[in-house]
């Protein structure tokens, strides 16, 4: 290079950095190679089939967004309302049942991390189970309808909320606990006057956050017959009535965005 003598040179990195850079480059190459192998091994349809599918289905779907079918708006709104109510009950059940469980999964109140292991294990097991699988089992066991969806949502929420609640409890300030004990208070007084006031705002905020998640989840529970807007949606998908699908989607999107915004505002004021 002609200007090598005048321009300041970027110094070569030390060997440790060069080795780390080489390792990182190796990782990136591995990830990309794995992606290529994975794509080739996947059973993909022909490009022609995809194009035909797009022309026959995606075009009417997009047209439906521009010109929604207002005839089914009442149905869309009433089934979205049912979805909303399902999420309210499912979240409440989850929160009420997660409350006692979370104290059994919080090491600091039980007097040692090892005492919290059984509680934590139960919560992990509940969380691992996909919600929609629970819904399928409830539909098979108790019959289709919103109750099956509510039960599935409730149980799944226990796993999520129980874990978050336990994390919140483990993060509380031990000072007030000690102060109450020093004033002669027992375990019950410590719980009522120190633990509960410290955790309640965080609990409420996380219940609202779970409600946002559950509202989204409730929109798909109907796909397996567990109530809510998913049922009219899957029926119209099966009959390829794309313009009506768009109307239902618009209602879902609008509802979810509004509830998210409201819930976000309340949560910011809580904590």
């Amino acid at each position: 290079m002609p200007d090598a003598a005048t321009a300041s040179q970027v110094p070569t990195p030390p060997p440790r950095v060069r080795r780390a850079n080489a390792a990182r480059a190796g990782l990136v190459v591995t990830i990309l190679l794995l992606a290529v192998v994975t794509t080739i091994a996947l059973d993909l349809p022909s490009a022609e089939r995809v194009l035909r599918g797009l022309r026959n289905n995606a075009v009417p779907l997009l047209r439906g967004f521009v010109q929604p079918r207002w005839e089914i708006a009442p149905l869309a709104f009433s089934s979205m309302a049912e979805t909303f109510f399902m999420a309210v009950i499912g979240t409440t059940i989850g929160a009420i049942l997660a409350f006692p469980l979370s104290f059994l999964a919080a090491g600091n109140l039980l007097g040692g991390t090892r005492f919290a292991i059984p509680g934590k294990t139960v919560l992990v097991a509940i969380r691992t189970f996909p919600e929609i699988l629970l819904a399928i089992i409830f539909v098979a066991a108790t019959g289709p309808g919103p109750t099956a969806g509510i039960m599935a949502m409730g149980i799944h929420s226990i796993g999520f909320l129980g874990k978050i609640f336990a994390d919140v409890i483990e993060g509380i300030d031990p000072g007030p606990n000690e102060a109450i004990r020093a004033a002669g208070g027992g375990a019950l007084q410590v719980f009522v006057w120190s633990v509960i006031p410290q955790v309640l705002p965080e609990f409420a905020s996380n219940v609202l956050y779970r409600f946002e998640i559950n509202l989204r989840a409730a929109t798909v529970l109907g796909l397996v017959g567990a109530g809510g807007i998913g049922l009219p949606l899957i029926q119209r998908l099966q009959f390829r009535r794309w313009e009506e699908v768009s109307m239902l989607l618009l209602v879902i999107i609008a509802f979810v965005i509004v509830v998210d915004a409201l819930s976000g505002r309340i949560r910011r004021r809580l904590v």
């Binding site: 990830i31 794995l34 992606a35 994975t38 794509t39 091994a41 996947l42 059973d43 993909l44 349809p45 089939r49 995809v50 599918g53 797009l54 289905n57 995606a58 779907l61 309302a81 049912e82 909303f84 109510f85 399902m86 309210v88 009950i89 409440t92 992990v124 691992t128 189970f129 996909p130 929609i132 699988l133 399928i136 089992i137 409830f138 098979a140 066991a141 108790t142 309808g145 919103p146 109750t147 509510i150 039960m151 409730g154 989204r216 989840a217 929109t219 798909v220 796909l223 397996v224 109530g227 998913g230 949606l233 899957i234 998908l237 989607l249 879902i252 999107i253 979810v256 965005i257 998210d260």
Partner: protein, 266 residues
């Protein structure tokens, strides 16, 4: 109630305003719950009978281990879908997250448009994307990959733009002072600050995608869910519980692996 002995101070009452807000919140919530229960026909009795039915049903589900060899193929496809969905979602999220961050994008219109697109994309759950795309893109793994790509893109761009907005402005100003343009500022001042957190988020989204990829087959988007639904429709509960056990172990293993990798990152 016994009269308080003189000299013991009474516990002060909460201010009236606070009490009113608390009472109003509780009343609103109870009213909402009652309306919800009435509208959905839910009763607390259902909770008890439902749980009973659930466990009776589960008691009948004894895994049929003879089905196990037929699980591995679809499980592999499930993982392929999750891997590709995460990878493509990440690739698309990387440019978009800088467009949706106020400190890397100063143009108000671009910022508003990219944020709105992300909000809309995020309002649709992954299973719904799969249900929509399966009839469009042919039943099989392709709609699954596209569904998870869209979902990962929305989540990662949102989490990423929050991280970028929280980045230290010092290095950005320093790079800008050398005469660098926006892209150089992003590459040399923002990326090094957010790379570790972003990698951790990608692993987290991969966890979510593994969970999603086992169920998107229920709506025809490939993976083990398709076999699960087929066995369920034949009332082959032994095979169903074998699949469920495998899913359970797979999700636990991926979660543990990902949590371990994330603990190494930050």
């Amino acid at each position: 109630m016994l009269p308080e002995p003189a000299g013991t101070p009474a516990i002060p009452e909460r201010p009236a305003g606070q009490r009113k807000v608390a009472a109003a919140t509780l009343a609103t919530f109870v009213a909402l719950f009652v309306v919800s229960a009435w509208q959905t026909g839910f009763s607390v009795g259902d909770l008890a009978t439902g749980t009973g039915d659930f466990f009776r049903f589960f008691g009948r589900m004894v895994p049929n281990w003879g089905y196990l060899p037929r699980v591995w193929g679809p499980i592999l496809e499930t993982l392929q879908i999750a891997y590709l969905g995460t990878l493509f979602g990440t690739a698309l999220a990387l440019p978009l997250l800088f467009l949706a961050s106020a400190n890397t994008t100063t143009d108000r219109v671009t910022l508003a448009v990219s944020r709105s697109v992300l909000t809309v994309l995020r309002s649709i759950p992954d299973l719904l994307y799969a249900a929509l795309l399966a009839p469009i893109l042919a039943i099989g793994p392709l709609p699954g990959v596209v569904a998870l790509t869209l979902f990962s893109l929305a989540v990662l761009a949102k989490l990423g733009s929050e991280t970028v907005e929280a980045a230290d402005p010092g290095p950005m100003e320093a790079v800008r002072a050398t005469g660098a343009g926006r892209n150089r500022v992003i590459v040399y001042a923002v990326v090094p600050q957010v790379a570790a957190t972003m990698t951790s988020y990608v692993l987290y989204v991969f966890e979510i995608n593994v969970r999603a990829s086992v169920i998107i087959g229920l709506v025809g988007a490939g993976g083990i869910g398709q076999d699960l639904l087929a066995r369920l429709n034949f009332f082959a509960y032994g095979d169903v519980s074998t699949i469920i056990v495998v899913i359970f172990v797979l999700v636990l293993a991926i979660d543990a692996l990902s949590v371990w990798a994330r603990s190494k990152l930050i």
